[in-house]
């Protein structure tokens, strides 16, 4: 804990209304449990893990793609291989060991992913928009994403819900969700799967067929906001909830400790 964390909260800091990017971080944090081992990504996933660890999940184990295990970074991360992830970690594994012994061997419970397209079954495209051999947009590619999607118990997808981001089928499956449904995934020999999709409009989950539905709406969003930007007729939960708002403590952590420079969250309306 740095001295910043114990500073008295100034009223202005948490009295400002929360933003949807802050709500996304908090909603993701609440998905995590204290005995989870999480493969953490940079940006909102890292913020979410750190919020969870400092609130309800103190034993959360954070593992990074770069092979650092039990990292305890003291400053906001600039990249997945930040020196602050290595200094003070419990262990540092060569890249191969991280994928081989940790991810593939099923030692990680939760992974965070984003993507340019997410479809009805939670399949993710982060490779190309358009044709693979003649792309309209060449995206970065899988990185660790495909095997994270294969091997963790619960994949969390964090992404803004913009136009064209939720087509019925992705242009290219980079990372498998429920493929053609929960049975399709099981036939490939894969356990686990996507657990939640957290956007700036709501929190979505997957039904018994492995199809996306809206579980809670953020206070500022409407059903139509979501449906109008979704490429198929999306289901809403019968008991559709409102996403719980961030607490003052959660906002304080994001604004004062974890992302004071607003690298990964907008903190003003």
């Amino acid at each position: 804990m740095t001295t910043d964390e114990t500073e008295t909260t100034t009223e202005t800091d948490t009295e400002r209304a929360y933003t949807n990017s802050e709500l996304m971080v908090v909603a993701a944090a609440r998905e995590l449990e204290s005995d989870d081992s999480v493969l953490v990504g940079i940006g909102k996933p890292n913020l979410a893990c750190n919020v969870a660890k400092r609130t309800h999940a103190p034993e959360l184990r954070m593992v990074y793609e770069s092979g650092t295990i039990g990292s305890n970074p003291k400053t906001p991360l600039l990249s997945i291989g930040d020196p602050g992830l290595a200094a003070g970690a419990l262990s540092i594994e060569p890249m191969r060991n991280g994928f081989n012994y940790y991810l593939q061997a099923g030692r990680l419970d939760v992974g965070f992913l984003g993507g340019a397209q997410i479809d009805r079954h939670g399949n993710i495209n982060s490779t190309v928009i358009g044709d693979y051999d003649d792309p309209v947009v060449r995206l970065p590619g899988s990185g660790g994403a495909c095997e994270i999607a294969c091997h963790v118990d619960r994949t969390m997808i964090i992404t803004p819900h913009t136009e064209r981001r939720f087509p019925e089928e992705v242009d290219f499956i980079t990372s498998p969700g429920y493929v053609g449904g929960r049975e399709g995934r099981a036939e490939l020999g894969l356990d686990g799967g996507p657990e939640a999709v957290i956007t700036d409009l709501g929190v979505y989950r997957f039904n018994d067929d492995g199809e996306l539905y809206v579980d809670s709406l953020h206070p500022s969003a409407t059903r139509d906001d979501i449906q109008s930007k979704t490429g198929w007729e999306i289901e809403f939960a019968d008991d559709l909830q409102q996403t719980p708002e961030p607490t003052d403590e959660e906002l304080r952590l994001i604004r004062e400790v974890l992302d004071p420079e607003e690298l990964y969250t907008d903190q003003a309306e």
């Binding site: 940079i42 940006g43 793609e65 770069s66 092979g67 650092t68 991360l77 600039l78 990249s79 997945i80 291989g81 930040d82 020196p83 992830l85 290595a86 200094a87 540092i92 594994e93 060569p94 890249m95 191969r96 994928f99 081989n100 991810l103 593939q104 399949n123 490779t127 693979y132 051999d133 792309p135 309209v136 947009v137 060449r138 995206l139 970065p140 590619g141 899988s142 990185g143 660790g144 994403a145 495909c146 095997e147 999607a149 294969c150 091997h151 290219f172 499956i173 980079t174 990372s175 498998p176 493929v179 995934r185 490939l188 020999g189 894969l190």
Partner: protein, 304 residues
Amino acid sequence: MSKVTSMHDAVATAVDDGDSLYLAGFTHLIPFAAGHEIIRQGRTDLELIRATPDLIYDQLIAAGCARKVTFSWAGNPGVGSLPAFRRAAEDGYPTEIELEEYTHFGMIAALEAGASNLPFMPLRGFIGSDLPEHNDNIARVESPFDDDYVYAVAPIEPDVAVIRAQRADEDGNAHLWGIQGEVKLAALAADTVILSVEEQCSEETIRSDPNRTVITADEVDHVVVEPYGSHPSYAQGYYGRDNEAYLSWAETAADRETVEEWLDEWVYGVDDRREYVEQLGTERILDLEPETAYATPVNMGEYR
């Protein structure tokens, strides 16, 4: 026998037009200085292999050195995309580039096969993904013992690998601490290895802590002593990442002309890494310096 030389001479000797090249280092200890020297020497038709092409391959692509990129994640880490890579992949500018694409795990497994002299390496990867349809070096293999299956990747064996470490002796026995990435595998998989370090040390220093050794002299062809040779990436315990450089690359590289200006100023406009560091200036370098935090000692014992 000392292998210490300049990066100029190491690149002139080791890297030919058309070579396949792996500049190693997962975010940590990226061989930027080596990449710049390759640009200065005007190498062309290179196959650039790297899990994370990062800024250094974007610069090589922008300078027209590449014919092919073999990779698993082509982005600007923590920032966004690689503009020069995208221009080449989408528009064929300044050169057409062929892409050979993996996942991180697949890429590392292919290097592992190369380092191990194995015809393939199995992994539980690519499952449910469309990637195997687009890469002939990925194939499904059945288990000989049960109904299970895996994917296999063919070996990757670069002509040249450039790796960096914090310290090495003059023969090329090297200590690396912090994030290890794929550095060892790249060196073992490659035919020729250029090792660049922050500091030269004695053989005794290496022998005092053999568990810290990432590669031994037998695998190393050239040793280059180049402080700050990884800027704007970082060297654990020596300097941190210069995030300003990563952020500004997004703008610099967005435009064909500004990227040319950048290359003129920071690559063609300096003779070597020493001049590059001088141009960075003392203040920028000092701002990247971490506080000191030594590892708790271990006693290896002296057995007579």
